[in-house]
């Protein structure tokens, strides 16, 4: 964030304390002024923070430095045109009394605040649907509070009928009670999932049907919730990396990179050039993998199984390179804070070129089957449309936002890792329908291939790890030969990479959209708090807007098209 923007912010909020952390500005306000501040930030023509990226809270119970209140609430906003990130913080004195909700400003606040309520027990006054989201409805306590006993096992097995929610949604849609009961217009409730061929994991999509048309829809997530954030609080920074594999498991390495990038940016470590290029090559390669899975699964949902093989065979073949490089097919855990686990193996260029050539062929074959296919056009064009404003309001990012016509891509707008040096284009859709979302992914595959080819030409020789003793393990000769080396090794392994105390947010353009990490550090080697901003969590939050009014078959392909990955959705 540049100085003029900061001045403008200070001028607009004279009472608030404004500081800058990395690239974002942090505005601290009192709860009474929270909504006023947020609404000013959203609506003022100077600011126009149209994206609410994330809502989270922090429990300072065990924090070494005393704070104003035990809980603090953080709203992360983004202005996509000028690429400004602002975090609005407010202390929460009484979580049970709560703070006013921001759901009327951004629709994404709905799920974001629900998550905060679920994990921290902070109430939101005026929230339309304040109930648990990731944890089971019978769950007792709020797991991300520091005083939650993590060894306490809770067995919850009763399903939530969600009848109240779907009836509320129906009422909102103007379906009266008498319509629902009249035998001629009776509404049928149908659960798609949690275990259904289309969910590609476990999500529950409860629909109210009129014939085959979906009148109302509510969704239940959290079936794959495994407490990533709580687990991470008890591990050192480097130990968290294997957990990030399991976020978006279709592009595991991208999560690794996004995570270490966030930590490195706070440490102020400038990684080596070769590492940067390695990360670009690998993240674009995994972007391709992710899109291949998404398109393939999407076309299977549409009934075109052959496409699946054209795309998936190539993805499967790519695992040869991935497993040769990282030692694992799916859970790569390939990055470390300060560099990479290993350098490329000898002859990787030929392998990579071979794979991307095959991928190009497979994708072109599949594209030929789809591009001129009338059935595909009828199924996708003008279906499940998400308008630009609504997409922004629901916090869409990545391909789904670009499909709605917002040309926002962090690789272009906030370039990291020399992305500004590459020649590539960001495909943008016009209508925000299924067709746009599908075709954008096709095009992004070709663009990623382009970036990989350029990066392969430009990648320099050199070390893949920084020589900073704060993060890099000393060479073995020193570990075994010198006491300083041994002590350094021991401390790095047992205590972890020490980060200076503070809080920061850093984001990365993952395959699905903006993957953000909000960290709180207390100066130790373990994160005091990690909050992931998973792109598909907010996209799923807008799912009902896309499918209401369309048919079951549309909802099915829409779910595939927005690329819901249970691992990062439920964490």
């Amino acid at each position: 964030m540049n100085a003029t923007a900061l001045e403008k912010l200070q001028a607009a909020f004279p009472e608030a304390t404004i500081s800058t952390v990395l690239d974002s500005a942090v505005i601290a306000v009192q709860p009474e002024r929270l909504i006023e501040t947020l609404s000013h930030l959203k609506n003022d023509k100077d600011f126009k923070f149209s994206l609410l990226l994330d809502v989270t809270a922090i429990d300072y119970l065990e924090y070494p430095v005393a704070q104003e209140a035990r809980f603090a609430l953080v709203y992360t906003l983004r202005n996509w045109q000028k690429n400004m990130v602002v975090q609005v913080r407010t202390p929460v004195h009484d979580p049970d009394a709560g703070v006013p909700t921001a759901t009327h400003l951004w629709d994404s606040a709905n799920w974001g605040e629900r998550e905060v309520y679920d994990q921290y027990g902070i109430r939101f006054i005026g929230h339309p649907d304040l109930r648990r989201i990731l944890n089971h409805w019978q769950f007792k306590g709020h797991p991300l509070r520091k005083d939650y006993p993590i060894k306490l096992g809770q067995i919850c097995y009763e399903t939530d009928s969600m009848e109240k929610e779907i009836r509320a949604r129906l009422a909102l849609k103007g379906v009266s009670q008498s319509t629902m009961q009249d035998i001629n217009t009776e509404i049928m409730f149908l659960n798609l999932g949690p275990s259904h061929p289309v969910t590609h994991g476990a999500i529950r999509i409860l629909t109210a049907l009129d014939g085959e048309t979906i009148v109302a829809n509510v969704n239940e997530i959290g079936y794959l919730h495994r407490g990533f954030e709580k687990t991470a609080e008890n591990l050192t920074y480097n130990q968290v990396i294997p957990l990030t594999d399991r976020l978006n498991y279709c592009s595991a390495l991208m999560n690794n990179i996004a995570y270490v990038k966030a930590v490195e940016s706070w440490l102020g470590i400038e990684i080596t050039e070769r590492t940067k290029f390695m990360r670009v090559v690998m993240s674009e390669f995994f972007r391709i993998q992710d899109h291949l899975v998404c398109i393939a699964a999407n076309l299977v949902d549409m009934g075109g199984l052959t496409n699946y093989w054209y795309l998936y065979n190539e993805k499967e073949a790519s695992y040869d390179l991935i497993s040769r490089l990282t030692g694992a097919r799916l859970t790569s855990s390939f990055t470390r804070i300060g560099g990479m686990y290993r350098d490329f193996y000898e002859g990787w260029e030929a392998d990579m070129e071979n794979h991307i050539k095959n991928i190009e062929k497979g994708v072109s074959d599949s594209y030929k089957l789809v591009a001129q296919n009338r059935i595909v056009h009828d199924r996708t064009q003008g279906v499940c449309v998400m308008s630009k404003d609504l997409a922004l309001s629901y916090g869409f990012t990545g391909p789904c936002l670009r499909a709605s016509g917002v040309p926002f891509d962090l690789r272009k707008d906030a370039p990291y890792y020399n992305y500004d040096a590459f020649d590539f284009e960001v495909p943008v859709g016009t209508k925000g329908d299924l067709y746009d979302r599908l075709m954008i992914r096709y095009e992004e595959i070709f663009q990623s291939i382009k970036i990989i080819r350029q990066a392969m030409k430009m990648i320099p020789e050199g070390p893949i790890f920084v020589s900073d003793h704060r993060v890099a393990l000393p060479p073995k000769s020193q570990v075994y030969g010198k006491i300083e080396g041994l002590a350094n090794h021991f401390k790095l392994i047992f205590e972890g990479v020490k980060t200076p105390p503070g809080e920061w947010y850093d984001s990365f353009e993952a395959a699905n959209g903006e993957l953000g990490f909000h960290f709180v550090s207390d100066g130790s080697g373990r994160p005091y708090k990690v909050k992931v901003r998973p792109p598909c969590f907010y996209i799923m939050g807008g799912f009902h807007e896309m499918v209401e009014g369309s048919m079951i078959a549309d909802a099915v392909i829409n779910l595939g098209c927005i690329n819901i990955i249970g691992g990062e959705l439920d964490r």
Binding site: M188, L190, H196, P197, V198, E212, L299, V300, D301, M302, G303, G304, L305, T306, Y308, W309, Y310, N313, L369, N373, I375, V376, D378, R379, M551, I552, A553, D554, V556
Partner: protein, 428 residues
Amino acid sequence: MSQLDILLVLLRVAVGAFVPLCFIAVLVWLERRGAAFFQDRAGPNRANIFGFRAAGLVQNAADGIKLIFKEDVIPGHSAHKFYFVLAPLIVFFCALVSFAVVPFADTLVLEGKQYIMQGIPMDLGILWFLAITGFAVYGIILAGWSSHNKYGVLGALRASAQVISYEIPMGLALVSLLVVYGTINLNEIVHFQGKLLFGFIPMWGVVLQPLAAVIFIVSAFAETNRTPFDLAEGESELVAGFHVEYSAMKFALFFMGEYVAMFVSSSIIITLFFGGYQIPWLSTETLVAYAKPVSMLLMGLVPVAAALFCGWMMKNNKSHYDRPNDPRVREAKVYRIIIWMMVVVVEAVLVGYLLYAAGGAADRILVVLLQIVTFLVKTFMMCFVYVWVRWTLPRFRYDQLQLLGWKMLLPLALLNIFITSAVVVALS
């Protein structure tokens, strides 16, 4: 009734019932291997009996055995268990019986008596097919309804709506066809197609009525509930649709019923539009008249075809990695021996025919056999088209399917009737 009569009745019933049943195995194999071919993979090729895999056909036996020994679950929540059991029977039975009117060879004339070469000798022809396939949808509706499952009901609803809407364009496409042929008897229709247009084009239905052919084929695809019209079971949407609650052999009956239906509708398409059992340019009379040269030609062609096939098989049927004493090569060698033994038998029969039986009844029997083979080959090719389409196209949405049926096919079929009638009236 002479012994010959009884023998021929048995033969007809055998062909009418067992050919569709045997084709289940062939079609399941074709579907799976065909899909694999389109999708750049191998398909089922591991199941074997003593190392003999029969190109993957053994997999069917394995699947069949598995289905027989699976637990046969009847959902406890279903209030209509009788209909639940009845439904797959209806589907399978209707599919099988609808083949009964399709002539698989020309009428055999032996000792002055005529023997119609179809399962049930009757004159209903195409009407029988329409009636029986229309009835088959009751099986699907009953299955969905008696399962007491929402997916099942949705699948059944989709199936019934689809079949009803597509029967109309199908029937109307037939009307224009019948105007041309002037008969509903399928054997006469095939006879008609044995003639030549302008002296060199076979007068096949697809030449005379291309539009009707397209409409009929599309409708036939819809009637058999196959992609792009497989909405009734659309696995990504309705899990398995109407047969979601079925297991073991009751599921297998649906499954086999689908393949029988596919075989029957292929055979109907062949009969109506692609000359049925007719070999192009060679009508029954021509074949009977030139039986001797035809058999000599066969004597020459059969070994050539066998040699080509064996060469191809020996080249491809081997392991893709080094194996000592490769069992696949051994397998192929055994197949080669079997094929050449079959060739020897065929040659011996043909030689015997030429030496002792040429002229008279044997000519006609030879022609019937040839026509049965032609019929099966053509049907097989049409089935391949079914498989091809299934693995190429995605699925329609429910409303788009109805739009296609009512707003595209129906007006086209009506237009076709007007044009056809006008042309027929003008010409006559």
